[in-house]
């Protein structure tokens, strides 16, 4: 016990000694000569100024040119605009490539009982062995972002490698955003922008840029309906909110106050990675990303009430505190709705006839975020519903089957105790009868997180330290649900397998 206390004290002292003044140089830091802390609370979590910077198309909301330390390169003099359409409309490119790099690495510790229950996997195989401790390389990513002048912003991020395997990387977001195109229609400022490319849909709290070590479970929730007693069929929908989509998005408003909305039309692809169970989803042919003609629709609306009494402060990007500007005290509420259609094709036994099942699905829910000074409490609730079609008894056609449903969400409290120290408490919950019946775990959760009941939940306290503004050490302890099952000897066991994760991450 004494040794353990000494070790904990040593770690705390090491952290305290390695926290000097903060400087960081990711992509925008270089261009503006400013610290990561200008836009981030605890990177990548954005503060109010960072939200305004993003809303503006990766520019300072006002007088951007006054702050750029490296002047952009002109692709044509501004006066050329008068000559249009006889010339190419002039633009700019950043004076230096806006490149940022990101790397993270992890160390994990599991409870001793992690292998007590070795439940079968969804395809009937044996469970896998989980070591007690494990060092893990995370991801190495490149990201580039900025703007080309005239309100055209760009973002591309790509993982060179994930989990130490360079073949597992891939494009995250890659898009152009035409900011404030509503001005062409004489609409109010910032009321209409257009994004084109591949991007994370406008979910209330970004999973792609989460500051937590583990993502929110509900965002990873796919919907695989329980196999039908009537034969082949059921829901086999790999779509999850954390999956980036390809398409276009219209958006408007601000994320730092007032309204914000987005409407997106996206590729239909419910079989992006080949879900477990080798379902009969239609696979997109090589060279296409969609697996059907149908396009998914996503809409989001939120309203943020800044609660400062002083109207100037309330409407500004940041609130004016007695000791300097700070994030607003605010209450934000929002709602979202996603509509898609999963497509599967079935062939009856001994027949060449192909039946196509088109199974509409939707995800809907609400969210809130409350911020007081450096305390942020936020949460989300989601309900998922997939209509199901299966063969009729004679396998001569398709018929409706019970829908596959799930619900859940999360509640999280972040407290920035010091500018470099954030404490986190989370509760995640997913309730899915189908997952329970299928023995389907949340993505990447391992066999210690198999659903032992329709409800799967966890509590996750954590703490994060900024060693510099661009280097972060994070800790997370995942308290998993209690599970009852049989061990290798066939004895009934009730265990809870928890997991501790430490991570180091840096961007530059």
């Amino acid at each position: 016990m004494c040794k353990r206390n000494a070790a904990v004290c040593f770690l705390i002292i090491v952290f305290l000694l390695t926290v000097p003044s903060t400087y960081a140089i990711p992509a925008f830091s270089r261009q503006y000569g400013t610290s990561c802390a200008t836009c981030h609370i605890d990177f990548p979590k954005l503060n109010d100024f960072g939200k305004a910077f993003k809303d503006s198309g990766f520019k300072f909301p006002k007088n951007d040119e006054d702050f750029i330390k490296i002047p952009p390169v002109m692709l044509g003099a501004p006066a050329q605009k008068e000559m249009f359409p006889k010339v190419i409309w002039p633009g700019t490119i950043p004076g230096m490539p806006q490149i940022g790099l990101r790397f993270n690495t992890f160390f994990q510790v599991y409870s001793r009982n992690r292998n007590t229950l070795v439940p079968p996997t969804a395809d009937g195989g044996g469970g896998t062995f989980t070591p007690r401790t494990d060092f893990q390389p995370g991801l190495f990513s490149i990201f580039t972002a900025g703007n080309f002048g005239d309100g055209i912003a760009f973002w591309v991020d790509d993982d060179f490698s994930v989990g130490g395997a360079n073949s597992n990387g891939g494009l995250g977001d890659g898009y152009l955003k035409f900011v404030n195109i509503g001005r062409l229609l004489k609409l109010p400022t910032d009321s209409l922008s257009l994004k084109v490319g591949q991007f994370e849909i406008d979910i209330p709290f970004s999973q792609a840029r989460t500051w937590n070590l583990s993502g929110w479970d509900i965002y990873d929730e796919a919907n695989y309906g329980a196999a039908s007693a009537l034969g082949v069929g059921g829901v086999n929908n790999a779509f999850a909110f954390s999956t980036p989509g390809e398409g276009v998005e219209l958006s408007g408003g601000h994320n730092y106050g007032g309204y914000h909305y987005s409407l997106a039309i996206l590729n239909q692809s419910t079989n992006p990675n080949g879900p477990p169970g080798a379902g009969p989803n239609v696979s997109p042919i090589v060279g296409t990303f969609s697996d059907s003609n149908f396009k998914d629709l996503y809409g989001r609306f939120q309203y943020r009430f800044n609660l400062e009494k002083d109207s100037t402060s309330r409407n500004d990007v940041q609130a004016a505190g007695p000791n300097g500007p700070r994030d607003h005290t605010y209450l934000q509420v929002g709602t979202f709705y996603f509509y898609g259609r999963s497509v599967q094709r079935f062939t009856p036994t001994g027949s060449t006839t192909v039946f196509t099942a088109r199974e509409p699905f939707y995800r809907t829910g609400g969210d809130f975020s409350f911020n007081y000074r450096t305390f942020n409490l936020f949460g989300l609730y989601m309900y998922g519903h997939d209509r199901s079609q299966v063969f009729n008894g004679a396998q001569t056609g398709l018929m409706g089957a019970p829908s596959a449903r799930f619900n859940g969400g999360f509640l999280e409290a972040d407290y920035l105790a010091l500018p470099w120290l954030m404490a986190i408490m989370r509760y995640d919950r997913v309730q899915s009868e189908a997952d329970f019946l299928n023995g389907q775990a949340a993505a990447s959760s391992g066999n210690y997180f198999q659903p032992a009941s329709a409800t799967r939940n966890r509590v996750t306290p954590g703490v994060q330290f900024l060693i510099h503004a661009n280097i972060k050490a994070s800790f997370e302890y995942q308290i998993r649900p209690q599970q009852t099952g049989t061990d290798a000897s066939g004895n009934t066991q009730t265990v809870r397998t928890n997991q501790a994760i430490a991570g180091l991450e840096w961007v530059y």
């Binding site: 610290s35 802390a37 100024f49 006002k62 007088n63 007695p322 300097g324 500007p325 503004a469």
Partner: protein
Amino acid sequence: MRRKVLAVLAAVMVLTLAANAGSISGKVSGMNGESVVYVDTIAGKTFPAPSEHPVMDQKGLLFQPHILVVQVGTTVDFLNSDKVAHNVFWPSLMQGGKKLPGKNLGTWPTGEKRPFKFEQAGVASLLCNVHPEMAGYIVVAPTPYFAKTDKSGEFKIENVPDGAYTVVAWHEGAKNASKAVTVAGDTKADFTVSK
């Protein structure tokens, strides 16, 4: 007639004073960039506070000027010319090796000024709590005899009465260098500063 006599007397006095006022010039070396050189406290002498208000601006995410030197008792106007919110604070006022309490001036709208009177000599390291890379300095000299060097370290303090003084050289991030200087007309004094 009386008026003429007074005018002549005044002119003679000014010329006499000018004849007794020298200067201190030289170079601060050892570190690159601007330094501040000033005559330290003169026992038994006080100086009236200047009436003008020099401005310390926040512009382009920078304190401008980076170093401002003022006489004790001066009111400095802090201005925010940026279209982003800033604040100004200094954790302490360094007086030699002594730390005097700092001050947080808070935040105020773009284009407005917030005055602050520096009643004590010392060096205030200016910071902004939303832009941690921003840094500026106000060197509050105890006498009106001070100068900021150019980038090569050259300086000249004008109108220093003849006499014996302690002269101090300050440089960002360095230890103060000081030496006794006897001013008799134009006097030379070089300093070397180091971390």
